[in-house]
């Protein structure tokens, strides 16, 4: 249990990378990249966790009444989730452009076109 969450984050990252490298469709590759991104969120939040603690949000509990987890990593992950989605959109826009210019979204066929 001491390192399980970190190992899960490593697994997600590696699986996403494998998918990126072997993908035959650029849209699928963008999906794999978003899997890779989620590994970073798991790792960040795992680093900030504290046993038997609760969220540092004091709208419904008294300050100091319970131990709380680390808010800094949560703030990092939270902005990144939304910004990551817009970056995914940018990549998908690039894929649409590639499909318009070259008529294919298979990375292997694209390499042949250039040569």
């Amino acid at each position: 249990m001491d390192v399980l969450p970190y190992l899960v984050a490593v697994w997600i990252f590696l699986v996403g990378c494998y998918g990126l490298a072997t993908s035959r469709n650029l849209i699928h590759a963008v999906g794999c990249l978003s899997v890779c991104q989620s590994a970073t969120y798991v790792l960040l939040l795992a680093v900030g966790y504290r046993d038997d603690a609760t969220a540092p949000v004091y709208s419904d509990i008294e300050p100091g009444s319970r131990p709380v987890v680390d808010p800094v990593v949560q703030a990092l992950a939270l902005t990144d989730v939304v910004v990551g989605a817009t970056v995914t959109a940018l990549l998908l826009a690039l894929v649409i452009q590639v499909s318009k210019r070259h008529g294919t979204v298979d990375p292997d066929e694209l390499t042949e076109l250039r040569g």
């Binding site: 001491d2 590696l14 540092p56 949000v57 680390d70 800094v72 452009q97």
Partner: protein, 246 residues
């Protein structure tokens, strides 16, 4: 390079990275450990400034400059999408055919749209108190507008969504964040310093100094950005067609 050698290369490289990452994981502090020096200080600082949601305080007060960077990435990504997905000279717009959606789905969309919009605004407005904030609420509010496309048809969505207005709104809210930051220079000598407004009463809507203002600016920016993004993608997928031939 043949696919076979490439796969071999990926597997060898992946195994190397995996070994390094696992070795690093074993040396990390144990999961659930009790030592969080940054977290403890962030919580203390947030409570000193009467912000109930510590995460909002980290985002919009202690690390507000970092959030400005995130917002710039967001803005740049949207500008990039708008440029990439514009209508080129050899493309024309085809009128999408009106859709005939089953009545329960249409009714559901029309009932849930205002509820989701209000929930999105609630999540933004209570960002400094309960879980939520500009980033989350903005996406919820923007997504809710697209129920009109899902439940009715694309033309209904286009009527309530002048994209130009949302592009202006995006830029305005980004500048509002900057101006609030510059206003911090009046009270003290630091950009984005939270010293301008009184900190208010703990756990009320007007607590936290400039946190609610920056939160609202980010909420508006995210909402406008998502609407503009989806508008470009919908244009490409539904309306824009290339001239015959290519």
């Amino acid at each position: 390079m043949t696919p076979r050698t490439r796969l071999l290369l990926v597997l060898v490289g992946g195994a190397g990275i995996a070994a390094l990452l696992v070795a690093a994981c074993l040396r990390l502090p144990d999961f659930g450990g009790d030592s969080h020096p940054y977290g403890d200080r962030a919580v203390a600082a947030s409570l000193a400034r009467q912000t109930a949601n510590t995460i909002a305080s980290v985002n919009f007060d202690q690390r507000a400059f970092d959030t400005l960077g995130e917002m710039t990435i967001l803005f740049a990504a949207v500008v990039g999408c708008v440029v990439l997905l514009r209508q080129t000279r050899d493309e024309h717009r085809a009128r999408p055919e009106p859709a005939d959606v089953a009545r329960p789905v249409r009714r559901y969309a029309l009932i849930v749209l205002p509820v989701a919009l209000v929930t999105g605004l609630y999540v933004i407005a209570h960002g400094q108190l309960s879980p939520g904030g500009g980033f989350q609420g903005g996406v919820v509010a923007a997504t809710s507008l697209h129920l009109l496309y899902l439940g009715a048809d694309y033309r209904a969505l286009e009527r309530i969504r002048p994209v130009g207005m949302y592009e202006v709104g995006d830029a305005l809210s980004a500048s509002a964040y900057l101006i609030t930051g510059l206003a911090g220079l009046i009270g003290s000598a630091a950009f984005l310093a939270n010293t301008l407004l009184p900190y208010g009463t703990f756990n009320t809507l007007s607590s936290g100094g400039t946190v609610p203002l920056l939160n609202a600016a980010v909420g508006m920016e995210v909402a406008c950005a998502v609407v503009v993004l989806l508008a470009r993608f919908l244009d490409q997928a539904v309306e824009i067609e290339e001239e015959s031939g290519k």
